[in-house]
Symmetry: C2
DNA sequence: CCTGCACTTGCACACGTGTTCATTCTACTA
DNA sequence: TAGTAGAATGAACACGTGTGCAAGTGCAGG
């Protein structure tokens, strides 16, 4: 039936036979156990190497109940922010002998269910979730498997659930502060995916900064987005129809901002003279659009790396239960400018 | 030691006991085998569901010698082109009950070795490689495991090795043709990673188009890059120092082009009046830089999806051994313009 | 010389599942 | 009624590895 040889890999018993010992001895020798004589150990290791023996993680996992595999659930790998996080997780995992099973469930509930089911079947040791809209489905499901669950940029109370995140309220605050310092008073927000914790927090932080200065974002200027360029374009078009329209728009993330930027240019407005725009994440391309995007930088790669660190600690029983919170910082580029005098009168 | 309950998942035997049957009967019932009585089958399925039984893919894999898992090796997930390919692979895999183990080896040989080793240990059913610089290491290593190896945008002769790719020579040809039709005669190329098959093919295709029109790219105008913005910047800076400098630059990919674009602007040149620039891949952001990038579009998502299709065919023994080649097409945007008259005299 | 300990190794079992084969039971046919 | 075919189920084994325990060897101390 199959095109491929079904000969199967050579097993530990084959090595044992070749070395003239029993298979437990081989097992111990390859694990560098002090229980086998140094000379024997060396000989077995040499023979195993010559035979090209590769132990089966499957069989090992069956007995040890550890697979050295973690599940990584993301909304979409196409988002550059997520990509960087994934890179951090994966590299750290590999460096520590772990593998990563990637699950790309596009915020579709049915797909989420399949992902969780698959990860359970594969008996992953832990799950890392880098998804904007978590909590609703995963976490209750994940909790009951009794394995560590580490959320990235999300929060959720409960057993076995930990989180690594940047302080989104702080990030939002930085933007609000920046807008104010440039003289803006008519400020709007294009949201992320519905129910995204991080989107609400960023908005809240921004509003706090404004309120401290006697300003606010009117509710009708909080328009829906989806974390993608499409949502940014739609949101910006909505806002541009207002009269007078906002002079500064804070976007849930850089991808949204790039979409919004496109809409603003299409409308014939001049950036940043007529309108200031800020994003969030500081993805690589934020510096390359025109005008370069003012944004809030979060340590994307580090975020992923740290999440894996925490996972390892949890698996090794070192009980690092404290959540990790990074502080973001503002990156000033050309997309935000002081409000022009004649408009400030308006 | 561990914080987490070691109670272990419930096994097929637990279900058997609860249903008052033997475990093979449960196994058959859940596989919907016609060997068990319809009534019994239904009862067992119900009980298994109520108990929340999830079969162990580990134990199953040990006996069936199939893990329903494929390895996906990439140079870096940070490249938007790769991200899209990964998305295509992953979604198709999930839809067919397969999982994807992601291996991000940054073109570092030692990391490549670890990846291959890990994938062997995990006994993946097949390996998909989306890496620009393959062949040197992987393929010989991968071949000897006797599992299907599917290369994306790469070629390599040998057993068990198949490929899905776009016609890079054709893509390069399209750019060459386009440059010529705009009147350009001084044309340069910024390469991708060293030894990248695709980079050489794109250059070759471009040169063919030029040669058909009595032109060529001089060797000293084929400058090295790395497939990242850094390489694009460096390459462009190198080319701008020439006098006279090229009027059109073809870049290995869009990321390279974005870097080059940055360098050109920094040099005070006007785009595209003073210099035309073309990329490759048509990543999402190519449309959003300034000026929007003329590029060659390849079906990134489809490429990944198709690679997984082929993998499934191979695993099911349907022997689809024919390589798949997609035809790319030109996407004209504002980064390429006709050569200005005074320059064409020069 | 005998006892006992340290060291080395093999035996046997377990992990959870799929599959082959034998067995039991039922119902139908000659 | 006896024989048999067929349906349903269980017993036993295999997959490849790790580990507790027993057994064997050699050496030192009493």
């Amino acid at each position: 039936m199959s095109l491929f040889p079904t000969e199967g890999n050579i097993s530990i018993k084959d090595v044992a036979k070749a070395a003239g010992v029993s298979h437990p001895t081989v097992s111990r020798a390859l694990a560098d156990s002090p229980l086998v004589a140094a000379e024997t150990k060396q000989r077995i290791q040499r023979i195993a190497g010559e035979m090209g023996y590769i132990p089966s993680a499957i069989a090992r996992g069956l007995v040890t109940k550890r697979t050295a595999t973690v599940g990584l659930v993301v909304t979409t790998i196409a988002d550059p922010f997520i990509s960087e996080v994934v890179r951090g997780v994966e590299e750290n995992a590999l460096d520590n002998g772990y593998s990563v099973i990637l699950c790309n469930c596009n915020a579709e509930p049915e797909r989420e269910l399949v992902c969780v089911r698959t990860l359970r079947e594969k008996r992953v040791d832990a799950v890392i979730v880098a998804s904007s809209r978590v909590g609703s489905l995963y976490v209750p499901l994940l909790q009951e498997l009794g394995i560590p669950v580490v959320l990235i940029n999300n929060q959720h109370e409960g057993h076995y659930v930990y989180s690594v995140r940047t302080d989104d309220r702080r990030g939002g605050y930085l933007i609000g502060e920046h807008f104010c310092s440039l003289g803006h008073r008519r400020i709007a927000y294009i949201s992320g995916p519905p129910n995204a914790h991080s989107s609400l927090d960023r908005l809240e932080g921004c509003r706090l900064a404004l309120q401290e200065r006697g300003l606010d974002i009117p509710d009708e200027w909080v328009v829906p987005g989806d974390g993608r360029t499409e949502g940014g374009e739609a949101g910006a078009n909505l806002l541009l129809r207002c009269s007078p329209h906002p002079t500064a728009i804070f976007c849930y993330n850089d991808v949204t901002a790039i979409g919004a930027l496109q809409a603003v240019k299409s409308a014939g407005l001049c950036m940043p003279a007529d309108l200031s725009l800020a994003g969030y994440d500081d993805i690589a391309f934020a510096a390359f659009v025109d005008p370069p995007l003012t944004t809030v930088a979060q340590a994307k790669y580090t975020l992923g790396q740290r999440a894996m660190d925490m996972t390892l600690s949890l698996l090794n029983g070192q009980g690092e239960t404290d959540d990790v919170v990074f502080t973001p910082h503002l990156v000033e580029r050309a997309s935000c400018a002081p409000i022009p005098p004649e408009v400030s009168q308006g």
